[in-house]
């Protein structure tokens, strides 16, 4: 996770491959995860990131070691893009002690504070103040770390959005708020949740540099986040980025998502972010189909291995848990 050069008009092969690998890995992780869920092996909530891979993969490739991210209830993608070990992710989803949270957290709570991942969150909007807090910590320490909070259209109508972005603004924190505007909060379309669906304007109103970007274009996301990080490191943060996107399915695995208009879904599927990451890699940094296939196979193997590892792992015993609880 060393700092990447901005893609600009001539992105490096390394960057293009990294973004594609990330987007593809998320796609595979979610697809396999849904299967495990449908087999009854994953319980609780599972909110797939399918369709939004361009945002996490583009954004995280613009950050560097020492930076922080905070995520949402739909958090697998951010976690993977931040370089997480899919073994420990699958293990967490399978309630195993080898999981990131020993099976205590589950899908909505995977975090890895050792690498600056403040974690997913089950409370819509909560990642924003937490991310601003990490940015505040960085400023207090005099570090040049940037914090990115991935948040949602739903969270933009929540009080935490205004309060925390405003705090970041008055303190010029190195904070980037990426609103993944997938235009739905469960079944409620954004048009019913607010009058102005262009959410970046809410930053402008409080003097925050704000942008809108096609969230299904990984390179576009990368570029705007790259610039935002530069702005932050120059002491001119925060920056708000609204990334328009769309889910490929319902809100969670069990939601058929019938309320999503077919034409709109088709529109966004035609602009599939994984396909676009692959296409960009192919076009801008010529690579053979075989090499692409090799990458895809490698990722599929990694996932298969993760599932095997996790399946074999044990669970924390009630005794160990009770001992932990006794000191909580």
């Amino acid at each position: 996770m060393t700092k990447q050069k901005k893609a600009g008009n001539a992105p490096s092969r390394e960057l293009l491959e990294k973004i594609f690998r990330t987007a593809y890995k998320i796609r595979v992780f979610e697809t396999e995860g849904i299967k495990l869920y449908r087999q009854g092996l994953i319980r609780g909530y599972f909110h797939p990131y399918l369709g939004q891979e361009g945002i996490a993969s583009g954004a995280c490739a613009a950050l560097k070691e020492g930076d922080y991210i905070a995520s949402t209830h739909r958090g697998h993608g951010h976690c993977i893009a931040w370089g997480a070990d899919v073994k420990r992710m699958v293990a967490e989803l399978l309630q195993k002690e080898t999981g990131y949270c020993k099976g205590y957290g589950g899908s909505m709570h995977i975090a890895d504070i050792s690498v600056g991942n403040l974690g997913a969150n089950g409370i819509v909007g909560a990642g924003t103040p937490l991310g601003v807090g990490a940015a505040l910590a960085a400023q207090v320490r005099g570090s040049d770390a940037v914090t990115v909070t991935f948040t949602t259209d739903g969270a933009s109508n929540n009080g935490t959005f205004l309060e925390s972005l405003n705090l970041a603004a008055i303190w010029n924190l190195s904070f980037i708020l990426i609103v993944e505007n997938n235009q739905y909060a469960v079944s409620t379309p954004i048009e019913e949740a607010t009058r102005d669906v262009d959410l970046y304007k809410r930053g402008l109103a409080i003097g925050v540099e704000s942008h809108q970007v096609d969230g299904n274009d990984p390179l576009a996301v990368h570029n705007v986040v790259f610039d935002a990080a530069e702005t932050c490191r120059a002491g001119k943060g925060p920056v708000l980025i609204e990334a328009k996107t769309f889910r490929h399915m319902g809100h969670h695995v069990n939601d058929p998502g019938k309320y999503m208009p077919e034409d709109k879904l088709a529109y966004y599927k035609q602009r599939d972010p994984v396909d676009r990451a692959r296409a960009a890699l192919k076009e801008m940094a010529p690579i053979s189909d075989d090499d692409i296939k090799a990458i895809e196979d490698e990722i599929a193997a990694e996932m298969a291995e993760a599932i095997e590892f996790s399946t074999k792992s044990g669970e924390v015993s009630p005794e160990e848990f009770r001992a932990f609880a006794a000191n909580y």
């Binding site: 319980r43 609780g44 909530y45 967490e92 309630q95 949270c101 099976g103 205590y104 957290g105 589950g106 909505m108 709570h109 969150n121 089950g122 409370i123 819509v124 909007g125 739903g154 969270a155 109508n157 929540n158 009080g159 909060a185 469960v186 079944s187 409620t188 019913e192 949740a193 607010t194 309320y259 669970e315 924390v316 009630p318 848990f321 009770r322 932990f324 609880a325 909580y328």
Partner: protein, 335 residues
């Protein structure tokens, strides 16, 4: 009692439907409650029947939703605000604690707040720490709130109807495991007043007090013990505020032993308060300490085995009852 059996969630819907039908000032707002009919299907069909003015979806803004509900109640209407998980009510605590609960006092008794917050709590299904809490103790401690925790479909209906007719802010706390449970529910007018407990099982050896999802667990434990000839009385207070102290004290006077079962963590829960009341008012009638069977003092973990380990199961209740029965003066002397 009616013959008809319906589900807890249907009973809730019936209460809302009947009260909306009877009183044009009753309305409901919440996330996904209109078009989608609510996560637990409690509000299904209401939009079609009562229209979008009285059945509204909201953005994800719990503080705002609760706040506008309180404001609408102060202005005299009867809003129901549905909060998906009681955990999310934490976002609206200012409106509950500092506004709804205090308005009557602050206005010298003039202002009333006929506000009903419907929500659900409890562990189960691996929804993890932020979607599994039992937070009744937080509301219980704030003077001015009514705290209602129905355990049966009939009570769900009757208590909700009462909530929509009285004048104080009500925390109406359902349990995620009860929505699909069935029971007899009278059709039409069926109102259960606040402050009257229900004796779910008569017994003479020990009094078990439990509410919400723990009532059935207490009954199951009682059934097990009945096989050993231990005769357990199970009391369901139904509303925690106001609390039917008389019923509890009368039972304890009879059995001389009490066990309180709560799903919430042990520390500072409602069980502690009930125990403090019993030992205060029935000290010389008790043959053993009041025993509390409660959740661990830890957030609910995701892992299902550990989730189960963190809240009382039937065997824990059985264990608690045994403890209350065996730690008598003689047992103590024999130690």
């Amino acid at each position: 009692m009616a013959d008809r059996e319906i589900m807890y969630r249907e009973a809730l819907r019936e209460a809302i439907d009947e009260e909306m039908g009877a009183n044009p000032e009753v309305f409901i707002i919440g996330e996904g409650i209109a078009e989608r009919g609510g996560s637990y299907k409690v509000t299904e069909g209401l939009l079609a029947k009562y229209g979008p003015k009285r059945v509204r979806d909201t953005p994800i803004a719990e503080a705002g939703m609760i706040g506008v509900g309180v404001g609408a109640a102060i202005a005299g209407t009867r809003p129901i605000v549905e909060i998906l998980y009681v955990d999310f009510a934490m976002l609206g605590m200012d409106m509950i604690v500092n506004q709804a609960a205090k308005f009557r006092l602050m206005t010298g008794g003039e202002g009333r707040v006929p506000f009903v917050m419907r929500t659900q709590g409890g562990a189960g299904g691996g929804v993890a720490a932020q979607h599994s809490q039992s937070l009744e103790a937080l509301f219980y401690h704030i003077p001015g709130l009514r705290v209602v925790m129905p355990s049966t479909p009939a009570d769900a209906k009757g208590l909700l109807k009462h909530a929509l007719r009285q004048s104080d802010p009500v925390m109406f706390l359902e349990h995620k495991h009860l929505y699909m449970t069935k029971g007899p529910v009278p059709e039409g007018e069926h109102v259960v007043a606040f402050g009257k407990g229900a004796i779910r099982r008569q017994g003479k050896d020990v009094t078990v007090i439990a509410w919400s999802n723990m009532v059935q667990r207490a009954l199951d434990a009682a059934e097990d013990l009945a096989a050993e000839g231990i005769d357990v009385e199970v009391i369901d207070p139904r509303t925690l505020v106001p609390l039917d102290e008389d019923m509890i004290l009368a039972s304890v006077a009879k059995t001389r032993r009490a066990v309180i079962v709560q799903e919430a963590p042990r520390r500072g829960g409602v069980a502690s308060d009930i125990a403090s009341i019993i030992q205060d008012k029935a000290f010389f009638e008790l043959d053993a300490p009041v025993t509390i069977v409660a959740g661990l003092n830890v957030p609910i973990p995701f892992n299902l085995t550990l989730e189960a380990a963190s809240v009382p199961q039937k065997d824990d209740v059985v264990g608690g009852i045994r403890r209350a029965l065996h730690i008598g003066p003689l047992a103590a002397a024999a130690e």
